[in-house]
């Protein structure tokens, strides 16, 4: 029961997490004992230059990868021992991803893209459609439901991706450089959407190397050479 107690109040808690890729000469140590606790409802920015290990940390926080060593608990549940299938279920249920390159499926309409996580979760067709429509309204593009992603602007695409990330009411919304491919104005609009979502109670983690973006978060975590260098609350 100690693990449950450990994680009370935290949406996610990583303790002494190591991540090692490859072996021998080619071995790369991406994380060297990272411990971080992300509280429920907080807006956190993870910063660091490229190669610092922030993408790896993000992958572990997002259950895309398992730590080589150390523990990680999400929403009270330890993930180290889980199978690929169980991890997929956790990603589906508890995590919403927003990527720099949007990563929408180009051949599916906007509404189908948003529905996809619900499809994997086994939600009925009717409910999927309804919820996807609601989410598109929430991100401000309800009229784009039937079009293909290629017909949208970058900002609109990122809104679709955010809607998709929100479908299963995730415990953690993970955004990896969400404005990296946008111009300043649209980037700013997207960031405001994140602030809005945070206000509505979502736990948000944004990975960025831009200080001004990180400044919008409640807390900044800086990572360098696979270690947390600075962790401060605003």
């Amino acid at each position: 029961m100690s693990t449950t107690q450990q994680t009370v109040g935290a949406a996610a808690r990583a303790a002494d997490v190591w991540k090692v890729y490859g072996a021998g000469e080619a071995q790369v140590i991406a994380l060297r004992g990272v411990s971080v606790s992300l509280e429920q409802g907080k807006y956190t920015a993870i910063m660091g230059p490229s190669g610092s290990g922030k993408s790896t940390l993000m992958a572990i926080l997002g259950c895309l990868d398992k730590p080589t060593n150390g523990t990680y608990a999400l929403d009270g549940e330890r993930v180290e021992g889980l199978s690929g299938r169980e991890l997929a279920a956790i990603r589906n249920d508890k995590i919403g991803f927003v990527f720099q390159q949007y990563n929408l499926l180009p051949k599916a309409s906007v509404v189908r893209n948003v529905e996809l996580p619900m499809l994997y979760a086994g939600v009925s067709r009717k409910e999927r459609r309804q919820r996807a429509q609601e989410l598109l309204e929430r991100v401000g593009i309800p009229e784009k439901a039937k079009v293909l992603p290629a017909a949208l602007s970058g900002g609109q695409r990122q809104r679709v991706a955010i809607a998709r990330a929100l479908t299963n009411r995730p415990a953690l919304l993970l955004a990896d450089e969400p404005t990296g491919a946008l111009d300043q104005k649209t980037g700013h609009e997207v960031l405001e959407l994140f602030v809005d979502l945070h206000r509505q109670g979502n736990t948000i983690i944004i990975v960025t190397h831009d200080l001004s973006i990180a400044a919008m978060a409640q807390r900044q975590v800086e990572i360098m050479d696979g270690l947390i260098k600075l962790s401060e609350a605003a």
């Binding site: 997002g62 990603r91 499926l105 996809l116």
Partner: protein
Amino acid sequence: MFNGAFRERVRNSWVEMRENLTRSTLQSLGVILGVASVLGGFSISDSMRQRSMELYVKMGGLDKLNVRQSAVVKEGAPSALQMANLGLRTLDAQEGEDIDSSSVDGISLRKDAQARVRSPYADQERDIRGIGGNFLALDGYEIDQGRDFTMHDIDTAAPVVILGTEAVAAFFPSGDALGRTLRIGDTPVQVVGILKERVFRFRDGQHNIFRWRNRIIAIPTTLVARRFEGDQYHRVDRVTFRIRKLDAMAKFSKALSGMLKANHRQQEDFRLDDVGARVRKQQSQGDVYDIIFLLSGFLSLIGGGIVNVNIQMATLKERIREVGVKMAIGAPGTEVFKEFMTEALLLTGVGSIVGLIIGIGFSKIITASIGVPLHIDAKSFVSAYGLAVVFGFVFALFPAWKASRLSPMEALRYE
């Protein structure tokens, strides 16, 4: 399948297929050719088999058991018992029917002779066929003009004759044979019936293999017995039983054999011939062609399958990122596996249908060129299609498995 995931997979596969039409066409080419060659091959043997079936129907059906005389003395001088044996008789036919009268649908008797046949127009040495029972029906003859022999004709050995078309042409070239008189040996007989001409060509342009059947000059068996080569025992050359029920045949044939042996002083001077069984045995020899066709289809499906795996593996590279995205938002490996399998199977399914259509066209050309009407069994469609689906499934497994085993992290980062 139940919340629409299956539908969604099929829909997405369809979109994927349509968007990459060239690639999909190339991928399904192997399937198309394989199915076409299996179906084409099968349809040729189906058509030939169908033609044979038509032939047997025209011969009066296959559901017959023939009993013929057979030499019992193999070597040396016959024993007294053998000498005293009476052979196949009308009585055998009657007792045969009594064994299982519910299964026996018809009996025919045959007793042949040779005689000089004369009309005002011709004078020829001819085979004379003495017929009894339902001979015409069991041998596939039909009356064109006049009538069949009546019971009375046969009982009284009436001097009447039924002619085939060739016999009519030979003896009454002007055509009006009915009611005229013909002399067979020294016996004047009246023409009471004329048979329909019988024609069967295996292929267009081939000779009529039933031509000799039109030469028939038929008189009652009893008349043959009385005026040509009869005796008091009513011996006959052939007795035929029609047994409609296939499962009754074996039992009947066994009982008949026992009865005949008892009647014939424990000597097997007769020979039973189950026509259906004989023909089925002959047909099974034709199955080797089916195997050859199947094999050639197999080879093209294997070739097509290997090409398919290659293309699929190449396209997987383009789609790694897409797989990564799906995994990131919660698709388990099994879902990715199912998506790839659905795509491959849809491709196979559509390819097979095209293959079937091409196969039909292909068969039409071949059967037309050998002059046999096209016939394809439902079974051939099913096996050609089934084979393709099985191959499609097997060859789809590897790429789908590969895709399902991708690490989500690496897949997402793949450029």
